[in-house]
């Protein structure tokens, strides 16, 4: 056990390995580790950001929901109003139509009554004349009779 040439060999190996490690091993692996750390930090920041975004979106959605609710209530109200309006106007229309039909019918009835009365009157007159002719069986002054009959007819 003594110091000999082995020492020099070991030192040369030592220098060579350290050089190799410094040149080809340490930088790429350290870069990889660094990159991963950056990525993780980035991911954490992104997740925080998206959580905030989610909160905002939720608030927005709640707002929109509230708006939609009030809008729909308005629509329902106006529809109800419109409904009553339509029902009312339909009622009015129906009533006026009914009145019109009733009035027409009444007028027709009056007309018919008048016409019937007229016919009846003329028929009664001729009947009365014929009856009277037969009853008295004598010729009377036709003009005087006519006057009499006219009076009679008017009294009817």
């Amino acid at each position: 056990m003594s110091i000999d040439l082995t020492l020099l060999f070991t030192m040369i190996f030592f220098i060579g390995f350290v050089w190799f490690c410094m040149k080809f091993v340490w930088p790429p692996i350290m870069a990889t580790i660094k990159e991963r750390q950056d990525k993780i930090a980035e991911g954490l920041a992104a997740s925080e950001r998206s959580a905030k975004d989610l909160e905002l979106a939720q608030a927005k959605a709640a707002d929109m929901l509230r708006d939609a609710k009030s809008q729909s209530a308005e629509i329902v109200d106006s529809a109800k109003k419109r409904h009553t309006e339509i029902v009312d106007s339909a009622k009015d229309d129906a009533r006026s139509e009914a009145d019109k039909i009733k009035n027409g019918a009444m007028a027709e009835i009056d007309q018919e009554v008048n016409r019937a009365r007229e016919q009846l009157r003329s028929k009664v007159a001729t009947l009365a004349v014929a009856g009277a002719e037969k009853v008295i069986e004598r010729n009377i002054d036709e003009s005087a009779n006519n006057d009499l009959f006219d009076k009679l007819v008017k009294e009817l």
Binding site: D4, T6, F9, T10, F20, C21
Partner: protein, 290 residues
């Protein structure tokens, strides 16, 4: 170890001997290196430390090449866990800006963990396999193959690392503080005086103390790792000797081996961590200007 049935002492000695090649008067020879001095190489330490370091580089490089930001695989997650552990240790201690420190700490940590981890491979497994291969393939005599599989039980390896750190420490001390600043740090602390003459007298004292402190850094760094792992390895070997002492020894040795291995599971990363932390601390001190 020439005999087929070695004594305990021979067994332990055999296990503590590196596979060596060295330069002698007759050229380069294998395993006959008692007097070779500096011009010898622990082949096993070199091979295993290189393979384990290359394993680290290759495995981590593959992850680096195919690293996915999303949905990382298990292996990538494990590598990233190691990275973040090292990166945190560096950031907690080192406050300057230097792109070298973190990769340096990572390399030290993982490489030392891997080298220490070789300690958990049963002590006889790889040497036995190497012996068989050597005998079968190269016609060597059985028992004449030496192999120490834990590179950090070789003082050369731990000092190779700690001296590497030491040179970086010197380099950054001079780079950050300038030569004057560095020399000033070595000579004007810890004793200083407003009196010029007293100050000049104090300079050698300061220099001595600071130099001891400075040199203690790489030595303690290297020896701590070496000592811990060498002791651990030695204990594994001793327990392995125990297992050859009859049926009771075998069972007791097996249990002791397991307990020591479990305890060693703590020592392995802990020693790597200490080496890494001290490296960061030393380099951080080198960057601090007073």
């Amino acid at each position: 170890m020439a005999s087929e049935n070695p004594t305990s002492v021979e067994y332990i000695k055999h296990h503590l001997q590196n596979w060596k090649v060295c330069k002698t008067d007759e050229g380069w020879v294998w395993n006959q290196c008692q007097d070779a001095g500096f011009w010898s190489i622990n082949v096993d330490s070199v091979i295993f430390s290189f393979l384990l370091g290359a394993l680290f580089c290759f495995a981590f490089w593959r992850v680096a090449k195919s690293a996915k930001v999303e949905n990382p695989g298990r292996w990538q997650s494990f590598v990233e866990m190691t990275f973040e552990f090292v990166d945190k240790s560096v950031k907690d201690t080192f406050h300057g800006k230097n792109p070298l420190i973190a990769p340096l700490a990572l390399t030290i940590f993982v490489w030392i963990v891997l080298m220490n981890f070789m300690d958990l491979i049963p002590v006889d497994l790889l040497p036995w396999a190497a012996d068989k291969i050597n005998v079968l393939a190269f016609g060597a005599e059985p028992g004449h193959t030496y192999l120490k599989v834990v590179p950090t039980t070789d003082v050369n390896v731990t000092f190779g690392l700690s001296l590497g750190v030491f040179f970086l420490l010197l380099f950054y001390s001079v780079k950050v503080k300038g030569v004057g600043g560095f020399v000033g740090e070595l000579t004007l602390h810890p004793f200083s005086s407003s009196n010029k003459l007293v100050q000049i007298i104090l300079i050698p004292v300061n220099l001595l103390m600071e130099l001891v402190g400075l040199l203690a850094k790489p030595i303690s760094l290297g020896l701590r790792l070496f000592g811990n792992l060498y002791a651990g390895e030695l204990l594994f070997i001793l327990i392995a000797v125990l297992t050859s002492a009859g049926i009771g020894g075998f069972i007791g040795g097996g249990i002791a081996y397991m307990i020591w291995a479990i305890f060693h599971l703590l020592v392995i990363p802990l020693q790597a961590f200490i080496f890494m932390m001290l490296t960061i601390v030393y380099l951080s001190m080198a960057h601090e200007d007073h």
